[in-house]
Amino acid sequence: MFEDILITIATAATPLLIAAVGEVVVERSGVLNLGVEGMMVMGAVTGFGVALTTGSPWLGVLAAIIVGALFSLLFGFLTLTLVTNQVATGLALTLLGLGLSGMLGESFVGLPGIKMDYIHIPFLSELPFVGKLLFGQDPLFYVSLLLTAGVAYFLFRTRAGLTLRSIGDNHTSAHALGIKVIAIRYLAVMFGGACAGLAGAYLSLVYTPQWIENMTAGRGWIALALVVFASWRPWRILAGAYLFGAVSIGQLHAQALGIGVPSQLLSSLPYLATVVVLVLISRNRRLTMVNTPASLGRPFVPDR
């Protein structure tokens, strides 16, 4: 029972983790992409559709990653090449993604989806208590952990990561040093898009294997909040994502138990928790000031 709850928490936390870890790379490069929700929902509909037509959830995941990255290019072209307002363009990406996915997914509504198989390693997966938790989850759970470790290593232990962070902190100086600011930002934005697409596919192939319009239900926005909550550090995102996973699974269990609280109030808990957590973290101005990439959201036009 206890183990099962922990596993469902991991399932709720994994999409948040994947999307937020992608976004942290984008924001560390100084770009604020508020379109996570839109890229995620595009990933969800693509993953579902491709898995359904080909019968392979892995092809669905691959397609979702590609579509997420291509979709983020729209945002990249506008904000990086045409230097549009990043907040407004991110919103546009979200609105477009929600609209397009609703249109593309209309024929998928109500169809049973394809669920990705859980990993089973003989003996190890059958260990008491930790067996299923450590060795018997869905493959993307392990991907999310590797991704977090990889991004943490990349950002803080490699030269390329340092370059990326330097662009995020001062794009003018980085440009003066001969760093290709815009090219690197394009790559960062696409990485964020790929991660958001993967997170979306997780929702429609693992979390609830079906397509429902707007099925991301604000998770892209919660992922954005997680990045702030984690003060732009990958391992703290992991902690935050599991905290949110626990809140959303906790409220589901409370609904099932039928305690005397309206289900709508319980359903709003993850959103309220996001607000509370954001308040708690941002009231510490020094912490946020030190960690926020200094060029975040600022327009950059190279002088020639």
């Binding site: 549009t84 546009a92 609105l95 477009l96 609209g99 249109m103 319009e213 604000g218 926005w221 709508q264």
Partner: protein, 366 residues
């Protein structure tokens, strides 16, 4: 080939006026391509979307019904965006305004007087403004990102409405449908010209609000304060303007107008509360605000365009069987094109071929 931006010496007045039109044109072209891909005749589809709804008087009334909330919300948002406050939770403020405005007709249905309606509208405004004040307070007091908090509160508001109409406010005589009792005649927003169609006073409120805010922005010190604090907070501080007061001002105005839109929609167009009372007006209004170039008068025109897309979506679904889901994709594309075209106002765009770029570099190196 590369795209280069060359900063114009000053804002281009020509492109400031043209960019929304170019964006509309590009959206129509993209829409035509999309319809061809869906296997429909693009000309016929665009006709049903954008011309057919304009051919009958009752349909023009419907246009006003749909445009009213869009314009009301969007003019409020223009104050927010001009002053650099990113309120994207208008949908939630709309819902809360609808709920607080409905307190009288739902809880005191026997209270019938001419004063009911003005009270409802005031309570709707107060509710929306109070809900908008939450992200404003959190931003000023705790430095919390208003984009995320205002959006999270949309989900909370929608769930709260859902609970109200299924729980405490469910119509006792409604056979368990999740809806409140229908409003009594004294709680219904009257129609402007009921002989010819359904348009109600909400549209008048929208036009009045747009003109009032246009006047404020272009002719008063407060409007100047909005623009200065939006473009350069530092200059605003030196001028003695308070950043925190501006945050509250922007959120209270936009929240109040969204609340007014909410109660006008419920009282004028629907006549009761239901689990869903808006087809995403609060989000579509963001598109309206940008398409209107954040100018309240431009927003009137932009609101009519977006309202037309909703009507056209319904018309096209009935006549040629295109799903109404296409509408939101359309609206999203429109915002993309608007933002892209706005670049032309500040920059000239130069396409640089690979060889030309080398020559430029070579001459610069000399």
């Amino acid at each position: 080939m590369r795209i280069e931006l060359v900063k114009r010496p000053e804002r281009s007045k020509l492109f400031a006026a043209l960019s929304p039109l170019i964006a509309l044109g590009l959206t129509l072209i993209a829409g035509a391509i999309m319809f061809s891909l869906l296997g429909k005749d693009p000309v016929e589809a665009l006709y049903y979307y954008f011309i057919d709804p304009l051919r009958e008087v009752w349909s023009l009334h419907e246009l006003a019904v749909k445009a009213a909330p869009l314009i009301l919300i969007a003019v409020g948002l223009s104050i927010c965006y001009l002053s650099n406050n990113w309120n994207i939770g208008a949908e939630g403020q709309f819902v809360i305004g609808a709920i607080t405005g409905s307190i009288l007709p739902v809880m005191f249905p026997d209270f019938q007087s001419w004063i009911v309606l003005p009270l409802m509208l005031l309570m709707g405004i107060a509710g929306g403004a109070a809900y908008g004040a939450i992200p404003a307070y959190l931003k000023v007091r705790f430095n919390t990102n208003e984009i995320l908090t205002s959006l999270m509160l949309v989900y909370v508001a929608q769930l709260f409405l859902d609970w109200m109409v299924r729980g405490p406010w469910r119509n006792p005589a409604g056979m368990n449908f999740p809806e409140t009792r229908t409003f009594s005649p004294s709680a219904v927003l009257p129609e402007i010209w009921s002989a010819s169609g359904r348009a109600n006073w909400g549209f008048v409120f929208a036009i009045v609000a747009a003109i009032a805010l246009w006047f404020m922005l272009s002719r008063t010190l407060k409007g100047f304060e909005v623009l200065v604090l939006g473009q350069s907070p530092r200059a605003g501080r030196f001028a003695g303007f308070s950043q925190s007061k501006m945050v509250f001002f922007a959120f209270l105005v936009s929240g109040g107008l969204a609340g007014l839109a909410g109660i006008s929609e419920v009282s004028g167009a629907i006549g009761q509360l239901r689990p869903t009372i808006s087809p995403g007006y609060g989000f579509a209004a963001i598109i309206v605000a940008f398409l209107g170039r954040l100018n309240p008068l431009g927003i009137i025109a932009a609101g009519l365009v977006l309202a037309l897309s909703y009507l056209g979506g319904e018309a096209a679904q009935i006549s040629i069987g295109v799903s109404d889901k296409v509408v939101r994709a359309f609206q999203g594309m429109l915002l993309f094109f608007v933002l892209a075209c706005d670049t032309l106002i500040l920059y000239r765009i130069r396409f640089v071929g690979a060889s030309a770029a080398k020559t430029v570099e070579a001459t610069q190196n000399v």
